[in-house]
Amino acid sequence: MKAMNRLILLGDEAVARGAIDAGISGAYAYPGTPSTEIFEYIHSLSARDDLGIHARWSTNEKVAYEEALGMSYAGRRAVVSFKHVGLNVAADPFISSTISGVHGGLLVVVADDPSMHSSQNEQDSRFFARFSQIVCFEPADQQQAYSMAREALDLSEKLEIPVMLRLVTRLAHSRSIVALSESRKQNRASYCPDTSRWTLLPSNARKGFDRLLNKQAELRAFSEEHGANKLSISGKGKPGIIASGIACGYVHEVLGDRLAEYNFLSIGVYPLPADKIKRLIQASSEVWIMEDGYPLIEQQLTGDGLHTAARIRGRMSGDLPRSGELTPDLVKSAFGMEASHGLTLPGSDAVVKPRPPLLCEGCPHSDTYEIIREATRTYPDVRIMGDIGCYTLGFYKPHEGLHSCICMGASIGMAAGISHAGFSPVLCVIGDSTFTHSGLTPLLDAARENTNIKVFVLDNSIVAMTGGQPTMVTDEAVVQIVAGLGVPPEHIKVIKPLPRSLEENVKVVRQEIEYRGLSVIISRRECVTYYKEIKTAQRNREGELR
């Protein structure tokens, strides 16, 4: 029996399991590293054990959030998960749902990516939690990830506000043994009788905002008393440490028994426990702040440098790097301990070459880049605006066929802006999943004014970059959407990027470049890495149609 209750789980999976055991009825997400495995775990466990949890990938994070909020409106518990930049996409419903409040528990899991292992920025979601004035949990390990996910859903339902759980890459993608507790049944569906609080007309919204503000004292008391915000004073005049989340482990690793010589406050729940912090500062000669991500705690303590009553040392003071993920080695050197250099061999630096990620052998994107290069050879001024997906790797050699990548869907809107500025030809590339995530609205804009841009939809029938999740639309459905947005049928071209068809494909693209208006070229060929999964999905779709 004991073995049944102890599992090896990724931090992501521990959160997922905690949410399942807290009785969620819905899981909503859009894939993004390092958050993808949260939804995937719920999806596969729900299917395996027939848990009756609604779990389907959403078109984008905003939609995912709204679906989760609807589940909560109907009195049932929901979890919505995405990476840090996904919260930007979902920010609109997220912020306003703190005003409306929730009915069934609503857990927002955000996985941050300090050091940008797989991201375009390293923004810290704890700022979003502070900005929206809700509770945020920051687990230190997988066991806490499990128990905090459970607790967050209980708390959300009790306080009637969404609750955030923040992960960082190193916890999201690290496995450990997690002990499970008894699972809770799902809620029965029930409407909240008061529809006015869900209808954010100014008169209702003002009341909602007051309700949120009036809850703040309760939130602070909760955080102050929470066991994860633990203060140990070893003595007056000793140095102090505040460590949050995963950084707690790094401090323990580096200092070991010597931690007993420090005053120590661990942080696992926000808003920050102000009384405990004051007591720590009063007792300590100096205070070290160890946090993975932006210096949120440090900035709050120093008031952005406005008050310096205590000696605060961390990322802002220059004692730790301002950017990038925290590591035990950085903690070590901050405390003045010599970091080990490990084993060194003379000359090994010259031998060890970097090995960046690259497009797989036989990838259709490589052929599309080849077509674009050939077709635009005579246009030295050409710009090819990029988007988010495997094809962003086209920036590197040998393709060097990409001139931007900002965020999901930006390629089309930016291409239009460049065209407005007077340049041509302007091309852009966007994958099938990114296209449905955020590409439809800018394409509608371009269709309305027949903007002279060439949009390449790279339809490989799957969300490959994040591990092969199903795409919303592929094949003819992409053509139908493009036509539905108002792109004239004669300028919607479908090509199959294969080396042997290079010449004819180049001809098609050249023709469209010469046309001074909007063209959409759908470059359609299955991903080679997930070919088997795509074929299975195709068979299933055909089965559904019959």
């Binding site: 993808t36 690290s174 450990s176 790094y250």
Partner: protein
């Protein structure tokens, strides 16, 4: 007990499968475990690693601090050198496949990589590509290397084999068979390495020989092991190992192979 292992290779080589077997063996042994790994973009043919921290006490940090890994287990020779700063300078050991995975234009001359590996105080080189093909699938390279690391891991072979079986049982019966074969072949490499090491033969000499022996999925016989022990006591062994390394020819795992090798010098 405390062991920090760094697994590495190129995305797609099966690093996370190796980690799976070690993780579940550690849990079965009642140890604490932390195992961070790489997902996402880097998996597309990039450098990938996983840290495995195991202890009989609670483990605080996800990441292995620099200079504290006991073992680097690598599926690719260039990758094995990438993480040396994590390896303990006192007694760290590198176990690596010798087969280059060339997907970058400036991949270094393999001989410069091997030159580095031969300088390591503790190293075991494995011809995973050859042995995996022999075991039934080139993809089983990871299980060859895991087997080669087995005597350095604090779990019995039977526990490791149980989790190799579990891992591949989800896929197919045939894959279980192939991967167990590969794992046992790797164990044979590990076993002969241990015998030679305990007799005082230096790792850099052993490293020039083991990649060219045609190991099977069962333990190396005492007679063959003794024949190799005798070989390394011969003053000409050094020249013979160098010659074998240069010729890269596969030797049968028979007791007269070392004698023939010496005759060729």
């Amino acid at each position: 007990m405390k062991q920090d292992v760094l697994l590495c290779g190129v995305g797609g080589q099966g690093i996370l499968s190796m980690a799976y077997v070690i993780d579940y063996s550690a849990m079965e042994a009642g140890y604490s475990l932390k195992q961070p790994e790489v997902h996402g973009m880097s998996q597309r043919g990039g450098a990938v690693q996983a840290h495995i921290r195991v202890s009989d006490k609670p483990i605080a940090s996800e990441l292995i601090p620099l200079g504290e890994a006991d073992l680097i287990v690598s599926l690719e020779p260039l990758e094995s050198l990438r993480y040396l700063r994590y390896l303990s300078a006192e007694d760290g050991c590198v176990i690596t496949d010798i087969t280059p995975f060339v997907n970058i234009p400036d991949y270094p001359d393999p001989s410069s990589i091997y030159g580095q590996l031969f300088q390591l105080p503790s190293v075991l080189l494995v011809n995973g590509a050859h042995l995996a093909r022999k075991a039934g699938s080139p993809k089983a390279q990871n299980m060859i290397v895991l087997g080669a690391a087995s005597s350095r891991l604090p779990y019995s072979s039977s526990v490791l084999e149980k989790h190799v079986t579990e891992l591949f049982a989800r896929k197919s019966e045939r894959l279980v068979h192939v991967n167990l074969n590969a794992f046992r072949t790797g164990c044979a490499v590990s076993q002969l390495h241990q015998v030679l090491r305990q007799a005082g033969v230096s790792d850099s000499l052993i490293a020039r020989v083991l990649p060219w022996l045609d190991f099977e999925a069962w333990p190396v016989s005492d007679r063959v092991a003794e024949a190799w022990l005798e070989f390394f006591q011969n003053p000409a062994a050094c020249a013979a190992t160098e010659q074998l390394w240069q010729s890269r020819s596969i030797l049968p795992l028979e007791e007269d192979a070392p004698r023939k090798l010496l005759e060729g010098v």
